[in-house]
């Protein structure tokens, strides 16, 4: 039974990591527009590097 003392804290660490990742994604506009970015890979972006 003592294995739960290791596994449960581990699951909580994973949970926190998951929440942190989702927060990061939400803050970086990953969920604001779910349509436009899907087309991006289809283009050849020929934008020159900024001077």
């Amino acid at each position: 039974m003592n294995i739960i003392l290791l596994l449960i804290p581990l699951s909580i660490v994973l949970l926190v990591a998951g929440v942190a990742a989702l927060f990061w994604a939400i803050d970086h506009a990953q969920f604001d527009d779910l349509e436009t970015p899907g087309l991006m890979p289809l283009t050849d972006d020929r934008r020159e590097p900024p001077p």
Partner: protein, 803 residues
């Protein structure tokens, strides 16, 4: 028929303009489209044509953007962060798909001085960060217009950062609550199993502290909006819906914590997390719906132009609309929108007020008549003396009405709130009585019994009963193109037992009848093609009907096209001057039919216009009648025409030739007979009629004002959805009362048992969770049966419409 590579419009015969895109010559319809296509290809952006899902807008002819740089306009729309860093958010007309967003980002992003471009395609908004010392706003807008997009300024106050932040916060809270609730329930399962099979006190306490660990962020972070709402209500000295919720969350959480410390019998961290998660889920759906209605308000606000041409002693100047003052004289070009409410000071002109009033026929205005902001001057230029500006205009009133409808709380929800609030006050009193009672008889059981009462009777079933059913119904309808402006309308449409329809524009649309038309000279198809070519580019219903009648025929090229006096159009085709319009305009009143085409030598053809029932109208009426609902037509049109349509659709006539007042009287009569009346219509004459009905349904192709007076907005070509709307509404009604009855019955059964100490708190917690789950699952049944969701075959395309 060849279509323009850029805008998708039919290319008139005799036009041979080509744009070079990706090494191939593509046909385009006009020099503007050629310029746009060449420009896009020249920048290496031709990928846009492969990605787009909608054709582009025809690029506007030269537009003067200099007013965007005037200080008065910039103060309102531009947020200056530093001397060389400014930010503006604007709406873009013609932003139709994700590819447009990409094109705009690429086009503006290449201009020196632009720091950042962010396009939100669903909201049609662009956020632009630029360096005002390097590049002027007008130049940027000019660049945007060049590729075919019309920018419209938004108020700086409407910068959507507030909305984005609200969206993101809600999503975060929901995620934390969801994951927290799942974890808490898993630990609770171990505890429940333990309480049956036996568990070591140390292990039990370990799981309890784990539950505390995951429930704490849920209560302290996710549930913060409830606490904030309750606190606001408390400061204003009244009780809101948030009060019982916040109270319950806080009490359950605190009690569980105390129990954990005291090694007491039971804890409820799982119940409290689940409760928060369910409530936040309902709120999230509701917020998304609210933001969608916000877009409708934006669309209305866009009607008013952002700039105006003010007349001064020395000439004229282009100014921002916000700079206009009462008494100013402005000039409005033909086809441009009128910037403010005012009085016509130049000669007579026709005005298209369709966007504001739904009246598709242009209105004749004489010198001294009032004109309203947002309507379009069809001839010009005209001069207008400004009478009312900004927030005083009719347009601003309409926007306010729609905003209020979109943000107001439905009476249905208010009523449920009130009920839940009373219920909570009673439960709190009962908890106190229970605690005191047990303290007198058996103090050791007082806390457990009081807690059982509080938990078992948790108001969540009541709190969730109405909002979940309502939001589910709204979401189901939104997927079918029906916009619910006012939540109460759903409740009322379920009770409606008589549907009254307006005729013109609602049940019917105009159509050219080639068989009944008279051709005096030449070939019928040629005459139709010439007429359609003359009307090309117009959105008037008759023009659309003409183009449909012409079908796939090649349209000749029209030179010198002029809209004359709102009565018709003239232009030069094949070297001859043609006129198209009503008899009075074309020949001076000497024709038999409604729409006449003539050249220099007299009448060429007369077209018969007849009304044709809209696709789906017959099905909608039949479905309503099959449900046992009364159906009737009430129209301002001539009796014989109304009768003909009523016969065709197999329905009864409630009145014809009726004025708005007569229509209202007819509705009142129906209501006094005990009918609950729903009115379906559009158009200016309908607005008071729509307001007089018990529930009003407006069609989207119609008027903004009609929408404001109505609770439901329906896409006109989806008229057959009407019966389904009623089915969903009735279903919502049923589910709602089931929910409320369930919540009441459950509480009546469980609370007395808990108060007598017969329900151990763990059972109470399961009961509470189960009772709210039952409510949520029951609400999800709305829209789950075939009759509510089945998509019928699209109506057969009308004859003559090119595929």
């Amino acid at each position: 028929m060849t279509r323009c590579f850029h805008c998708g419009e039919a290319i008139p015969e005799g036009v041979a303009i080509f744009a070079t895109v990706a090494g191939a010559d593509e046909p385009v319809c006009c020099p503007g489209c050629k310029a746009a296509a060449d420009w896009i290809a020249g920048l290496g952006l031709d990928g846009y044509y492969r990605m787009r899902s909608e054709p582009s807008l025809r690029p506007p002819e030269s537009v003067d953007f200099s007013a965007w740089d005037r200080p008065a306009l910039r103060r309102l729309h531009v947020r200056e962060h530093a001397r060389d860093r400014a930010e503006i958010v604007f709406l873009v007309e013609g932003l139709r798909c994700a590819a447009c967003g990409w094109l705009i980002e690429q086009t503006l992003g290449r201009v020196p001085g632009v720091r950042e471009v962010a396009v939100n395609a669903p909201a049609r908004r662009v956020r632009l960060e630029f360096d005002p010392t390097t590049v002027s706003l007008a130049a940027l807008m000019q660049r945007l217009a060049q590729v075919g997009y019309m920018p419209q300024p938004l108020d700086a106050g409407a910068l959507d950062s507030a909305r984005t932040r609200e969206d993101r916060d809600a999503l975060k809270r929901l995620i934390v609550a969801g994951l927290g609730a799942m974890q808490a329930m898993m630990y609770a399962v171990a505890l429940y199993a333990g309480s049956f099979d036996g568990i070591e006190p140390a292990t039990r306490d370990f799981f309890r502290w784990l539950g505390f660990l995951v429930a704490t962020p849920v209560v302290l972070y996710s549930a913060r909006p409830f606490f904030a709402g309750a606190w606001r209500a408390l400061k204003a000295r009244h009780v809101s819906m948030d009060t019982p919720v916040a109270l319950a969350i806080a009490l359950i959480y605190a009690a569980s914590l105390v129990e954990t410390f005291l090694h007491g019998s039971d804890i409820y961290f799982d119940s409290v997390s689940m409760f928060v998660f369910f409530l936040l889920g309902a709120r999230y759906v509701e917020m998304r719906a609210r933001h969608r209605t916000g877009d409708l308000v934006d669309a209305l606000a866009r009607l008013q132009p952002s700039t105006a041409e003010r007349l001064t002693e020395s000439g004229s100047e282009s100014v921002g609309v916000h700079e206009l003052e009462c008494g100013d004289r402005v000039r409005v070009a033909a086809g441009a929108a009128i910037p403010a409410d005012g009085v016509l000071v130049s000669g007579a002109c026709s005005v298209d007020e369709s966007l504001l009033t739904g009246e598709s026929v242009p209105v004749r205005r004489n010198r001294g008549d009032a004109v309203i902001a947002g309507s379009i001057a069809l001839e010009g230029p005209v001069e207008i003396r400004v009478e009312r500006v900004g927030a005083d205009t009719v347009l601003a009133d309409i926007v306010r009405m729609v905003t209020r409808a979109a943000t107001g709380k439905p009476a249905l929800v208010c009523e449920a709130d009130l009920r839940a609030r009373r219920f909570v006050l009673r439960v709190l009193a009962l908890t106190l009585v229970t605690a005191l009672g047990w303290a007198y008889f058996d103090p050791s059981r007082a806390f457990a019994a009081a807690l059982s009462v509080l938990v078992v009777s948790c108001p969540c079933a009541f709190a969730l009963a109405v909002p979940t059913a309502l939001t589910r119904a709204v979401a189901v309808l939104a997927r079918r193109g029906v916009l619910v402006v006012d939540g109460d309308a759903l409740d009322r449409i379920a009770r409606a037992d008589y549907f009254v329809f307006d005729k013109t524009g609602t049940l019917t649309r105009p159509e050219i009848a080639p068989a009944e038309s008279l051709v005096h000279r030449g070939d019928a198809a040629d005459a139709l093609a010439i007429a359609a070519a003359l009307e090309q580019g117009s959105s008037h219903p008759l023009a659309v009907a003409l183009r449909e009648a012409a079908g796939a025929a090649r349209l000749p090229f029209v030179a010198n096209r002029r809209n004359v006096e709102g009565a018709g159009v003239s232009g030069r085709v094949h070297g001859r001057n043609y006129r198209l319009g009503n008899a009075a305009f074309v020949t001076g009143g000497d024709a038999r039919l409604d729409l006449v085409l003539a050249d220099e030598d007299g009448i060429v053809a007369e077209f018969a216009v007849r009304e044709r029932p809209r696709a789906g109208a017959a099905r909608a009426l039949a479905a309503l009648r099959a449900d046992g609902v009364g159906v009737g037509v009430l129209s301002g049109d001539r009796a014989d025409r109304v009768d003909a349509i009523a016969r065709e659709l197999d329905t009864s006539v409630l009145g014809s030739g009726a004025t708005a007042a007569a229509k209202v009287a007819r509705l009142e009569a129906l209501r006094s007979q005990g009918h609950f009346v729903a009115m379906v219509g559009d158009g200016v004459n309908d607005a008071p009629v729509l307001a007089a009905a018990d529930v009003a349904i407006a069609l989207t192709s119609g008027a903004a004002i009609a929408q404001a007076a109505s609770g439901l907005v329906l896409a006109a070509e989806r008229l057959d959805e009407l019966a389904r709307v009623r089915i969903v509404a009735r279903r919502m009604h049923t589910v709602l009362s089931q929910n409320l009855n369930w919540a009441l019955g459950y509480n009546l059964a469980a609370v007395p048992l808990a108060a007598l100490g017969l329900v151990p708190p763990w059972l109470a917690a399961i009961g509470m969770s189960a009772s709210s789950l039952v409510v949520v699952l029951n609400s999800l049944r709305i829209g789950a049966t075939r009759a509510e969701t089945r998509r019928e075959q699209p109506a057969a395309r009308l004859a003559g419409v090119p595929a």
